[in-house]
């Protein structure tokens, strides 16, 4: 029954439909704003339910892309609109469709101007994100991947804070620089292989020196998105200026595109180069973990602190991915999903108090726990999840990454694990300064408690983080076979390299 319906395209383009309805029918006044909110919420909810169909009908034992749709697009050069999901992309599709309704619900009160435009931009953002993760054609991927920039740029630029223009441009400049190189690389790949199908390209083995160059070109794009140290400085600024829901999507999904890119393109397509660059990536990631954790420690701006902590957590993702071990790769995907939920929720927490007090300065708070007890519970839970307490999803991801990297480079694991200590320091300190103490300041005492809508936002995320924390098998099972594919490739090339090294030694 389902095989006849182009379900992935439905998921991808249903939000576009919603966005068009909003843009065509809702005027920019109070009533229009209200209508647009509900249209957006319902569209995104239906999309989410549709995506659950994919989740439940996804076959974990099938070692390939599923729900494949294919239509010729540019016949002359064999480019086709080709969609499908495998174990690596499915979690991200679900993550995207899950976070969008949450974000829309979260911006019901906080967005005051041009509501219909905002809502439709969010729906368009969903189209592009889901498209990115479903694309099986590298050119289609590229278009979605880059187009994501536009709505995000607008969301920061129009609804952002005081320095929004600077941040938006910084964001654009960084990400564009990387993508130009990637585009050139894609053209080169097409000219060599004559195809843009991801599956086909992965079968092609490029010469070693070409792999190095292509890897670097893709690396330029993905490392900025992730972001890795030292190209991370756009992230704190973008987060600080973005509206709450923008931050949630940025941290929750957009950063993951970088990690997804590594897993989908860099490692399977350029395995020799990946093996060659792995130590370099470990160094950058370890620096990211320690350096940004220390920087996060001294921030006075809550959002900036969480943004820096994201960079540190993403360090785990790259380390896991380039450990080329089963545990490491699984941990890498797990960490991305879990970080998507946790950091998203943390930004929501900041949004909750920001909506009330209109400042992100940590020192302006203190004693909030007394006034907003429910909020204190949610924030505490998110903080602990971010710290990686067992029983939350954060723990599983970090643990698996550490296990994976210990197998290959124990010393990297030791440096990496310092992140667990540093993470605890800045998060606990943040919580303490914001929530604990006596509520003396007048504006704190008069804070409103969590509304029903806000509780509804938090409950599903909290449950997911908890369930993923105590029962990790379902998600791990989904990713297992796709990860095995990657490992097969890298193991083959690692063995090949050692064989050739032995051969040269014999000569």
């Amino acid at each position: 029954m389902l095989s006849n319906i182009p379900i992935l395209s439905s998921i991808t383009f249903l939000p576009l439909f919603g966005a068009l309805i909003i843009l065509l029918t809702c005027s920019d006044d109070e009533q229009g704003g209200k209508n647009s909110k509900f249209v957006a919420l319902w569209t995104s909810l239906i999309t989410f339910i549709l995506s659950l169909f994919v989740l439940f009908n996804f076959d974990n034992d099938l070692n390939n892309f599923q729900f494949i749709e294919k239509a010729s697009w540019i016949p002359l050069s064999n480019v086709s609109y080709h969609m499908g999901v495998d174990g690596i992309s499915l979690p991200f599709v679900i993550l995207s469709t899950f976070l969008i309704p949450v974000c829309i619900l979260a911006s019901f009160q906080s967005i005051k101007k041009q509501v219909p435009l905002f809502m439709s931009l969010f729906l368009i953002l969903e189209v592009l994100m889901v498209g990115t993760f479903c694309a099986m054609d590298i050119l289609v991927f590229y278009i979605f991947f880059e187009a994501v920039l536009i709505p995000m740029f607008l969301i920061i630029g129009i609804w952002g804070g005081v320095r929004r223009v600077y941040s938006a441009f910084k964001f654009f400049l960084y990400t564009l620089l990387g993508s130009v190189l990637m585009l050139i690389a894609i053209f080169y790949i097409f000219s060599k292989t004559g195809t843009t199908e991801i599956n086909e390209i992965a079968k092609f083995s490029f010469p070693y020196d070409i792999q190095i160059l292509l890897f670097l070109a893709f690396f330029a794009s993905f490392s900025v998105k992730l972001p890795m140290w030292p190209v991370h400085t756009w992230l704190p600024d973008a987060h600080v200026e973005a509206p709450t829901s923008g931050s949630v999507i940025l941290a929750g999904v957009l950063l993951k595109m970088g990690g997804y890119g590594f897993l989908r393109f860099s490692i399977p397509m350029f395995p020799d180069a990946s093996i060659f660059f792995a130590p370099f990536i470990f160094v950058l990631s370890v620096i990211a973990i320690i350096y940004t954790s220390l920087v996060a420690l001294v921030q006075n701006d809550m959002k900036k602190m969480i943004a820096y902590s994201s960079v540190a957590h993403m360090g785990f993702v790259t380390i896991g991915a380039f450990s080329f071990t089963n545990e490491g790769l699984a941990g890498s995907v797990y960490q991305m999903v879990s970080h998507g939920l946790i950091s998203g929720a943390l930004f929501l927490c900041v949004g909750i108090v920001y909506d009330r007090l209109h400042t992100r300065e940590i020192n302006a708070y203190g004693g909030v726990a007394d006034i907003m007890p429910n909020f204190a519970v949610f924030f505490m839970f998110m903080m602990l999840a971010s710290v990686g307490l067992p029983g939350t999803s954060g723990f599983v991801g970090e643990l698996l990454v550490l296990v994976g990297i210990w197998k290959t480079y124990p010393i990297v694991a030791i440096f990496c694990a310092t992140g667990l200590i540093l993470g605890a320091i800045y998060m606990l300190w943040l919580y303490r300064r914001v929530m604990f103490g006596k509520a003396i300041k007048e504006e704190i005492v008069s804070l409103e408690k969590l509304s029903k809508r806000e509780i509804i936002i938090f409950v599903p995320i909290t449950l997911l983080i908890f369930i993923f924390g105590i029962y990790a098998t379902p998600l791990l099972d989904i990713t297992q076979l796709s990860i095995n594919n990657i490992i097969d490739i890298t193991e083959f090339h690692q063995n090949k390299n050692t064989v050739s090294q032995i051969a040269t030694l014999k000569d």
Binding site: V295, L297, E327, L399, L400, M435, I470, A472
Partner: protein, 643 residues
């Protein structure tokens, strides 16, 4: 039944936590306490069953994670080691729950408090019943979380939430070692389950890896890493700084978490891993030495403190040191024995101190107490019992366990064993001294505070005294009751497979055959300590002042806790903030942004402002440019084609 023992406290915690406000204070108090009492009864019943039939069991719950070989299943392991821990945990916890009904009667968030207490109990039970290392780590972090929440329970007080944060972070330093140890175990054994690990140890104990150019024996490395974790949780020297500060929490918390149960998790871990540690002689030596140093170091600080709870906290720290050096000389049963007896008498002392503090209108400074024994005679008597047990006076619980530990240390006849023995003896003297210092300063002499406080001094209600009685029974009889099973000749049968001692390590076996003077020296020193305290604080009250002046540097060192806090503050806190600021201002903003995005946009501006000059709009400018272009083109063509 094991399911019920573990999950009833969780049930209580959830109900009191989520619906406590709706249920009302009374109902949540009674509900959580009742559930704990049931759990306690069940764990005693199962304990007796197990000690008669000796059948170890694993009760599976559900799968947790599964990636390749890395698979973890939630399950409850019930063997003698977990059974002993369970009776200790549930008994002390049930008593603390009941005690809290009285102690927290003036507090206005009782359900939250009870919920945390029950949550702690659940996490601790998960820790001890774990069948694999990851679940153990779950419990390990869970108790850490509960401890964090309970230390910071009065979150209005800055000192309380600072202490809570400190406890969590210092523990994290230990966890850093622990988690790496777990991962190392997995990489060597390919499994996380105790049975599978232990059955492979013998074959793998000579394996080594190269790290940073050094060749390291893997089992030793694992043992040291795990011990770092144990040091954090059990407040051993170096990672002990959080424990005294943790006294900011309500007193029942100190009794349950920071005396009887959580802090002994490290000792439990070491005993649980005994089959592995037996193949790591170097690590065992380290454990012995660290334990012995902690025992003496904490005792010296305990001598000089004036906060009644802090003295007892340092005494806990010191007693944990004993347990560790017992484990270090491979006398794990002795270590577990002391853990059990200590849980009873230390919880008694803490709750007794709580009763004093309650009577003194929340005063904790012993200098402001004195002479109140007539007003609170029951508490006073019970404090005596606790102190006698702590000092190791014959036939009280501590006498059996502490003496055995010292004898085992002597019988190890190794350098580290003798080291531990002598430091342990000295610490025994100091223990007796500071215990009686507490008793004499608190209950005897003149009252040193305002009259209102004195008028208010009252004996605690029954709901607080009953738990004290129960614990006092433990403090008196637990040593005598458990002696034969725990450390008698049949210890192997009793502990079953849960504790393993290699044939090479004879300390525990020989502990029963030491020279007489070794047996009697600790008792003699303890009595001497009591007499000294009497001399110092009753016969000649000026003596402490004279001595502290005369040995000012040493006294100051002890009084300021060997300056550990100051050192760490300087080494870590300040330097982290300095580095953080440096990276942020000089790294991110000063370098990356300056030469990255800002630099590029500046460059673009400069170039475009320069290129504006060329586009002047005058035709002769353009004509000139064209002319130059033409000249360049022709020159290039000429050169290229060699015309």
């Amino acid at each position: 039944m094991v399911y019920f023992i573990v999950f009833l406290p969780l049930l209580g915690s959830i109900i009191a936590g989520f619906w406590g406000r709706r249920l009302g204070d009374k109902l949540s108090l009674y509900l959580t306490s009742t559930l704990l009492l049931i759990s306690m009864t069940l764990s005693w019943i199962t304990f007796w069953q197990l000690s008669s039939n000796h059948v170890d069991k694993v009760y599976p719950l559900m799968e947790w994670m599964n990636v390749g070989d890395f698979n973890v299943v939630w399950s409850l392991r019930y063997d003698m080691l977990s059974a002993v821990m369970m009776i200790v945990i549930t008994t002390v916890s049930a008593m603390v729950h009941i005690y809290s009904i009285g102690y927290m009667s003036h507090d206005n968030s009782k359900p939250r408090f009870m919920s945390y207490l029950s949550l702690f109990t659940f996490a601790m039970l998960m820790l001890v019943t774990s069948d694999n290392l990851i679940q153990l780590f779950f419990g390990w972090e869970g108790v850490g979380l509960a401890s964090y929440l309970l230390i910071g329970f009065w979150y209005h007080k800055p000192s309380a939430h600072t202490a809570a944060m400190k406890a969590f972070i210092v523990n994290r330093v230990g966890d850093f070692g622990f988690i790496l140890g777990i991962i190392a175990i997995y990489s060597v054994f390919g499994s996380l389950y105790f049975d599978e690990i232990f059955s492979d140890v013998e074959g793998l104990h000579k394996l080594s890896i190269v790290m940073l150019g050094f060749k390291i024996n893997v089992i030793e490395l694992i043992a040291i890493l795990l011990f770092i974790g144990a040091m954090g949780k059990s407040a051993q020297i170096g990672l002990h700084t959080w424990l005294p500060d943790a006294m900011e929490g309500p007193t029942p918390v100190s009794a349950l978490i920071h005396a009887a149960t959580m802090v002994t998790a490290g000792v439990f871990l070491v005993c649980r891993m005994s089959p592995l540690l037996e193949f790591a002689p170097f690590a065992l030596n380290v454990i012995t030495i660290v334990g012995a140093m902690t025992a003496i170091f904490a005792a010296t600080i305990g001598l000089t403190q004036f906060d009644i709870k802090r003295v007892i906290a340092y005494s806990t720290c010191s007693q944990l040191g004993y347990m560790f050096f017992a484990a270090g000389v491979s006398a794990y049963p002795a270590s577990m024995f002391h853990l059990t007896t200590h849980a009873f008498f230390k919880a008694l002392l803490f709750l007794g101190a709580g009763s004093v503090i309650h009577a003194m209108s929340d005063e904790q400074d012993m200098r402001k107490m004195g002479g109140i024994w007539k007003k609170i005679p029951i508490t006073y008597a019970l404090m005596w019992v606790g102190s006698l047990a702590l000092a190791g006076i014959p036939f009280f619980a501590g006498y059996y366990s502490k003496d055995l530990i010292l004898e085992a240390a002597w019988a190890a006849s190794s350098n580290s064993g003798y080291f531990a023995f002598w430091l342990g003896c000295l610490a025994a003297f100091l223990t007796a001294f500071y215990s009686w210092r507490v008793l004499l300063l608190t209950f005897h002499g003149n009252f040193n505070s305002s009259k209102e406080v004195l008028d208010h001094v009252h004996e605690s209600p029954f709901v607080m005294l009953i738990p004290l009685f129960v614990l006092a029974l433990g403090a008196i009889f637990s040593g005598w009751y458990f002696y034969n099973d725990f450390v008698g000749y049949n210890w192997k049968e009793f502990w079953g497979n849960s504790i393993f001692i290699s044939e090479k390590h004879k300390a525990f076996k020989l502990a029963h055959y030491v020279p007489l003077w070794v047996k009697y020296l600790p008792i003699f020193l303890a009595i001497l300590g009591i007499l000294c305290a009497y001399l110092f604080y009753v016969l000649n009250p000026n003596l402490p002042k004279i001595l502290s002046k005369k040995f000012y540097p040493i006294y100051n060192l002890f009084f300021n806790k060997w300056y550990f806090d100051e050192l760490y503050d300087y080494l870590f806190v300040k330097s982290f903030i300095k580095f953080g600021n440096y990276f942020w201002k000089k790294g991110d903003e000063g370098t990356i942004d300056r030469f990255g995005p800002n630099g590029i946009s500046k460059l673009v501006k400069i170039i475009s402002s320069k290129s504006i000059i060329i586009q002047s709009g005058y035709i002769y400018h353009y004509a000139f440019a064209m002319l130059i272009g033409l000249v360049v083109l022709i020159t290039w063509l000429l050169l290229d084609y060699g015309i």
